[in-house]
Amino acid sequence: MVFPILSVIVFTPLVASVLILLMPAERKTEVRMLALAAAIFALLLSIWVYFNYDQAAAGYQFVEKYQWLPVLGISLHLGVDGLTAPLVLLTGVVMVTGVMISWNLDDRPREFFAFLFILASGVFGVFVSLDLFMLFFFYEIAVFPMYLLISIWGWVKTREYAAMKLTLYLFIGSVVALVGALAMYFASGLQTFDMLALQNANFPPQFQHLWFPFVFLGFAVLGGIFPFHNWSPDGHVAAPTAVSMFHAGVLMKLGAFAALRVGIMLLPEGAKYWAGWIMGLALVNVVYGAFIAMVQTDFKYVIGFSSVSHMGLVMLGFSTLTKEGLTGAGVQMFSHGIMTALFFAVVGMVYDRAHTREIPKLGGMSKYLTWPTIGFIIGGLVSMGMPGFSGFVAEFPIFMGIWQVRPWVAILAAISIVITASYIMLVIRRVFFGQVPEEFEGHIGPINALDKVAIGFLSVLMIGLGMFPALMVPMVQTGVENVLRLLGGA
């Protein structure tokens, strides 16, 4: 019996959340310590998985399989491949930094960390599930704590509205996909929810053409695909900092990943049939998201819409169905996750001190907040796709992929890079440099050590990946080979 590392990763946050709930509500420091310890433990395990993944062997590794309900062919089947190992790592990173950033949260931290960790458990679960039923199970677990996290600890003005909107959007998406999954289960006649079996089921083309849009779009709602992206900026803005980080950093990847895993990999013929449409929608995401981000005056909305734009690039990468495009999309998921977590962390730090996010009212923050400024600039460079940063490693292959399929889409999508550069630079100039407004003089307190550690950690990751793409790209490629095999073989 080998050590069941993936189930330990999945259940660590869940166990931690139960333990946290069992602690007395007044012991806030102990609650935080326990949360941090559990998060670090999960991160260490996911780092271990990442570096012990055997790229030469490829395929699914660290596989565990326990029968859950044999009558219906439901099993707890876990495993990682080249695409998911980075995503597991991403989740671990965001979890740790999220706890660090929320250290000073004072309103019922016990419940906050407990709900956040239930969410984290769900996220890990989706990334490593090889069973369709379990994937849904974890997917829903990842969705509902969002409601509480946003509505209780979120931004007072919009939290109730945004939390409900987000939850309903995601729930609708997931249940629509669920019907598709049930249809697949019965149509395959295999009596199993195991995705490794279902991906060889050879569904008839008409079936795939019919169900692909339901399954793909149902999940892609969480990936923020146009025209179902509406919940996402509102949700990001209303959420407390750590939840925004989780949300934009990890949850949106959850949607994109599930759309790939269930939509494209199980219904490859459908994917080929609808690829053009998906590409069209994703193109709108990329360009429209960037334009909207540019005209926002709320700092957090800028980042919210930039997420929509960047997730569009992931979807574009998927829709190419080429090796380059998919590889880029895989790396982009990781890179954007880290980048956007950093962005939201910085936004949170600025807001906590200035008590406003209106860009025209802010200015000169670099004087007081050195670390966040540097972090934001690094994130900005990643966002613009500068060589030497992880964004470049991700976006370049995506554009290569698009160019092979439809060059004009690549040209149109490239507009977004220019727009992104302009809004990022505008924000940097207006928020971090220039004149400090009078009311802030002397009111901006320093950030604590944990915040610095979080910013430093996230920045180093992005630069590291930019400098040494070999750390991740070949691994993602092994995962992509698997997808391509399904696409080619079907």
Binding site: R108, F136, I141, Y147, L148, V179, L182
Partner: protein, 481 residues
């Protein structure tokens, strides 16, 4: 009359134990002083749980068998439901204990046991006459229980309303039974199908008769348009009784409905399945839409329980092994969940003196544990993992998809979205809103504590380790096909 066999005793072992428990309570009650009578609740709950264990230990059914001259059928379907009812009654007894003006009256426990006894017989009745008697045995104690608080106008009204609706619908159902006998010359549920298959029957008359029977059963499971009593009765009746009505009583209705329709009317299944499909859609939609606007939590739970009858009906409509299995599983998860929900309402209501949803503001600060139990129960009702409601819904929808009724699954899904909205709205009040009473604690007495912990753990168990429960439900369903 068939000769006596030991299986006959085993077949009604749970009923015998219930009767003994009832008599014990009847004997003890006059000897116990007023302030000690609360302990009858412990006795009832303990006795019921003991009966469950004894029955599971020695009274498990083997192959299905007719006993008592074909009056009862000794099978897993009946057995599984019996255990569910007795469990529900045990939880209800605990909830009743600390209810003012109710918990210290011995009759309340006796009536509860009598109703449970009736439900047990409903679940295993194999003959129309037995079935009707069982239904009445269940209903009459429940009428009394609903109107138990004589000095409370709303409770009296609830009792009367329940009685009038119940008597009316049961009369219509009885008329349906008599017509069935007229057509076929038999009252045995298991002979009806053969008689229908053999003889020449007017389709319209047969369907009409089925509709008449449906009136009575529709009342029991609160199917729209026979649901009008539910909100008023739930609001007025003592809260634990409302919980019992919405769970065990409803499940008993489903047990009868499935046995009767699947076994006796296979000839006409396309017709009744279509009728039930339409009713399921209407029930879900009406229940959920009306629940949206409720300000009183008991009324909201009443409409939500109407909606849940609709979801469960999806599984019945699928008319397949998976369908019936999913209904049984659904009812299991639903009973645990809804009992917990009503228990929480009771525990909070007796301290706060109000059942308005707005009174729940600040609950998570006043009583974090109770708020957490509420989170578990309401998210399970909404169908979120890792709670029982999620798996149960997935199975029901799966049954619909398997039977080529994707549209029904889609309607169910649209409805669960509405459901999610109002359940979340309550949780929002609990967790988000502030209130002036925030520093007043909500003391939870021991019976509530025990029952709520058991129910919450049960909800989690059913939602995560669902394999054993599913196999049990499957064993029960197998008896119908």
């Amino acid at each position: 009359m068939a000769t006596y066999t030991p299986t006959m005793i085993l077949a009604i072992l749970p009923e015998i134990l219930l009767l003994a428990l009832g008599i014990l309570i009847l004997i003890l009650e006059p000897f116990w002083k007023e302030e000690k009578r609360r302990n009858l609740g412990w006795l009832t709950a303990g006795g019921l749980l003991a009966s469950i264990f004894i029955s599971i230990f020695i009274g498990r059914p083997g192959d299905p068998q007719m006993v008592f001259g074909g009056m009862l059928r000794y099978d897993w379907l009946g057995f599984f439901f019996k255990m569910l009812f007795m469990f529900g009654a045990a939880a209800t007894a605990l909830f009743l204990m600390d209810m003012e003006r109710v918990g210290r009256r011995g009759e309340v426990y006796l009536l509860l046991i009598a109703a449970t006894l009736g439900m047990n017989l409903m679940a295993s009745a194999a003959d129309l006459i037995m079935l009707y008697l069982a239904i009445e045995t269940t209903s009459i104690p429940l009428y009394v229980l609903a109107g138990f608080m004589l000095t409370d106008d709303r409770s009296t009204e609830a009792g009367f309303k329940y009685l009038l609706f119940g008597a009316m619908t049961s009369a219509v159902m009885l008329y349906g039974f008599s017509l069935l006998y007229g057509f076929t010359g038999t009252t045995s549920i298991y002979d009806l199908a053969a008689m229908f298959a053999a003889g020449q029957h007017s389709m319209i008359l047969a369907i009409g008769t089925i509709m008449l029977i449906l009136v009575g059963l529709g009342f029991k499971v609160s199917l729209v348009p026979f649901h009008f009593w539910a909100p008023d009765v739930y609001e007025g009746a003592p809260t634990p009784v409302a919980g019992f009505l919405s769970t065990a009583s409803k499940a008993a209705g489903f047990a009868v409905l499935m046995r009767l329709f699947v076994v006796a009317f296979p000839e006409f299944y396309i017709s009744w399945a279509s009728i039930l499909a339409v009713l399921a859609v209407i029930t879900m939609t009406v229940g959920n839409l009306l629940a949206l606007t409720q300000k009183n939590i008991k009324r909201m739970l009443a409409y939500s329980s109407i909606a849940h009858a609709g979801y469960a009906m999806i599984g019945v409509v699928a008319v397949s092994k998976l369908g019936v299995t999913s209904v049984v599983f659904y009812l299991l998860a639903y009973i645990l969940t809804n009992l917990a929900a009503f228990g929480i309402v009771m525990a909070f209501g007796r301290v706060a003196g109000s059942d308005e949803i707005s009174a729940y503001a600040g609950l998570s600060r006043r009583a974090p544990g109770l708020a957490l139990a509420m989170l578990v129960a309401f998210l399970s009702l909404a169908g979120m993992p890792p709670f029982g409601g999620f798996v149960a819904k997935v199975f029901v929808f799966a049954a619909a998809v398997q039977s080529q009724m994707v549209w029904l699954a889609v309607v169910g899904i649209l409805n669960s979205i509405i459901g999610l909205y109002y359940y979340l709205t309550v949780l929002k009040v609990v967790y988000l809103y502030r209130s002036e009473d925030e520093d007043k604690p909500v003391p939870i007495t021991r019976p509530y504590g025990i029952a709520l912990v058991i129910l919450s753990v049960g909800i989690l168990l059913v939602g995560t380790l669902f394999a054993p429960w599913f196999s049990l439900s499957g064993a029960a369903a197998l008896n119908l096909f």
